[in-house]
Amino acid sequence: MSQTAYLVVAAGLFGIGAAGLLLRKNVLVMFMCVELMLNAVNLTFVSFGRSLDDVGGQVSVFFVLVVAAAEVVVGLGIIVAIMRRRADATADDISMLKG
């Protein structure tokens, strides 16, 4: 398969993630969408690394993975803190601040 196919899949995943983040209301699903976007980037990195015959693309993926893991920890921490106050909170409920 050509490199383009991988890039198109990655772009599709990124689009799904971005759309999901903006449209979905469940806090955890929004969170998963962020991960989807990051993994789309990983796929892009790997396929470019392959076509450029450069190991840098694959190394970058490791950095992204580590950062994504750190982000999960913090994000879930914040979400748990919110859920403790009110279970089944959706993103629409978290809207005290506006104006």
């Binding site: 993630g17 980037v41 892009t44 470019f48 450069d54 970058s60 803190a81 978290i94 005290m96 104006g99």
Partner: protein, 501 residues
């Protein structure tokens, strides 16, 4: 089998060039270690004092490096396998961020005790976050830039959600986290595309590649630049990527708003200028219209939305969007605007940290008294506090003899030098609009009647007094004797030295 595995060449790590960032990072980790080993509580203000000392040490460690960079023989260098750049630009920004940490930590001290949250966590996060900002400012590789950005951001998500008992703080943390992660993903996708187009994530390599090669199909590269611009635009709160900023600045604990508006903004611009202006200078014609549009929108939306706000923290948030527009005006001017942007960031650190420091104190217990009415007659009940706030607001409005005037003048000159009159005119108009809402606060402070049930005026904590004094001195000092600072900002040029490994 084993012979086939070559020894991996590891780059030489030049520790001496990384001292300012290392001091911040090790300082943060050390504080965490110490407090988990020590039994019982540390004396009052110990955490804040420690944080200030660490940030000061980082600030001082910049000085010998600065002399090394200015030295003709050594000069700027790209170190650690081309990952980290040591140049005047990174050092200037690290020093600015260290000042931001000092001010925010001093304000946080009194705040945390008032809210019954005293503990080391906030200070640890502050130091780590600033260390990430330092990494970002000196990054010579897009992946290093990304990691610096994440160290900076992940710590600040937690800081925004720090006040665990206040729903608004949690909400600020959540919104900041979701929007921040969204922006990071965009930035990263942009990095991946630029990597695909140029074959490297090293900024040194990208700059050299683009100056020697003309890409026939540069769609990938332009898409990458656009995505990176979106990602960094989120971080500096530029319109149309600004929607999180008012909510987060309003909901986050006030000293953290001071931190975010000074340190996080400085780091965001550090990345923006390094990547867009320096590494991608050959694509200036392509990115300039986009930066122009973002700058114009930030200027207009920031000032017009600030006018209708009744919450002072929210108003300051919109005003910071307006300031981001001014700084972007320097960015779109390209190389000639860089020193103006740096001076603006340094001046803005004092002004905005001071302003949010005032809201920390006036906010009172619960950090809730932030409406314009709460500032009515502040000059009668607390004249010194009102005086300081007036100085910060006038400086933000750009009144002569304050830092804000020269900062605005600098970016306007940069726009004029590049014959960008339309943007300069927009900026002048919005400066007038924003003067209106700054003056509105001053008028209500000096001519309003104090509210009947004024909370028994608590004395201003010692830390906040020191920080306010520093911020006022900085704001006025940079305005009255700007010479040395403008020189520093001029010398703080970003440089890539590919040879200096």
């Amino acid at each position: 089998m084993l012979a086939a595995v070559k020894a991996i060449a590891t780059p030489e790590v030049v520790w001496s060039a990384l001292v300012p960032q290392l001091i911040l990072m090790i300082g943060g980790v050390l504080l965490l270690t110490i407090v988990s080993l020590v039994k019982g509580r540390l004396p009052r203000g110990a955490y804040a004092t420690y944080t200030v000392v660490v940030a000061l040490a980082s600030l001082v460690s910049v000085v010998p490096l600065w002399h090394r960079v200015r030295n003709v023989k050594e000069g700027a260098a790209s170190l650690v396998g081309g990952a980290v750049g040591l140049d005047g630009y990174s050092l200037f920004l690290i020093a600015t961020m260290a000042v931001g940490v000092i001010l925010a930590a001093l304000f946080a001290d009194g705040y945390l005790r008032r809210e019954g949250l005293d503990g080391p966590e906030l200070y640890v996060l502050m130091l780590l976050s600033a260390a990430g900002g330092g990494v970002m400012a000196s990054a010579n590789d897009l992946i290093v830039l990304f990691i610096g950005l994440e160290i900076l951001s992940i710590s600040s998500y937690v800081m925004a959600a720090m006040h665990a008992n206040r729903l608004s703080s949690q909400e600020a943390g959540f919104k900041y986290f979701i929007m921040g992660a969204f922006a990071s993903a965009f930035l990263l996708y942009g990095i991946a595309m630029v990597y695909g187009a140029t074959g490297s994530t090293s900024l040194v390599h990208i700059q050299a590649f683009l100056s020697q090669t003309i890409l026939v199909h540069d769609g990938l590269l332009i898409a990458g630049i656009a995505l990176m611009l979106i990602g960094l635009g989120f971080k500096v709160a530029a319109v149309p990527f600004h929607t999180w900023a008012p909510d987060v600045y309003q909901g986050a604990p006030s000293p953290i708003s001071a931190f975010m508006a000074s340190v996080v903004k400085a780091a965001g611009f550090a990345g923006l200028v390094r990547v867009i202006v320096v590494a991608l200078e050959t694509y200036r014609l392509q990115w300039r219209p986009a930066v122009f549009a973002i700058a114009a929108l930030s200027l207009l939306v920031g000032s017009l939305s600030a006018v209708v706000q009744t919450n002072v923290k929210r108003m300051l948030a919109y005003s910071s969007i307006n300031h981001a527009g001014f700084m972007l005006m320097g960015v779109q001017a390209g190389g000639v605007g860089t020193s103006a942007v740096l001076f603006y960031l340094a001046a803005y650190t004092f002004m905005v940290a001071g302003s949010f420091g005032i809201t920390t104190i006036v906010g009172g217990r619960g950090d809730s008294r932030h409406t314009l009415d709460d500032y009515n007659g502040l000059a009668k009940t607390r004249p010194l506090l009102a005086g300081c706030f007036a100085v910060f607001l006038l400086a933000q409005a750009g009144v002569p003899l304050t830092a804000g005037f020269l900062a605005k003048l600098g970016v306007l000159q940069a726009a004029a030098e590049t014959h960008n009159w339309s943007l300069a005119i927009i900026a002048m108009v919005t400066a007038v609009i924003s003067a209106f809402f700054y003056l509105r606060i001053i008028v209500s402070m000096y001519f309003g009647e104090p509210q009947a049930e004024v909370e028994a005026s608590r004395p201003v904590p010692v830390g906040a007094r020191i920080a306010l004094t520093l911020a006022v001195l900085g704001t006025l000092g940079l305005g009255i004797v700007p010479g040395p600072f403008t020189h520093l900002a001029k010398d703080a040029t970003p440089a890539f030295a590919a040879s200096g490994r």
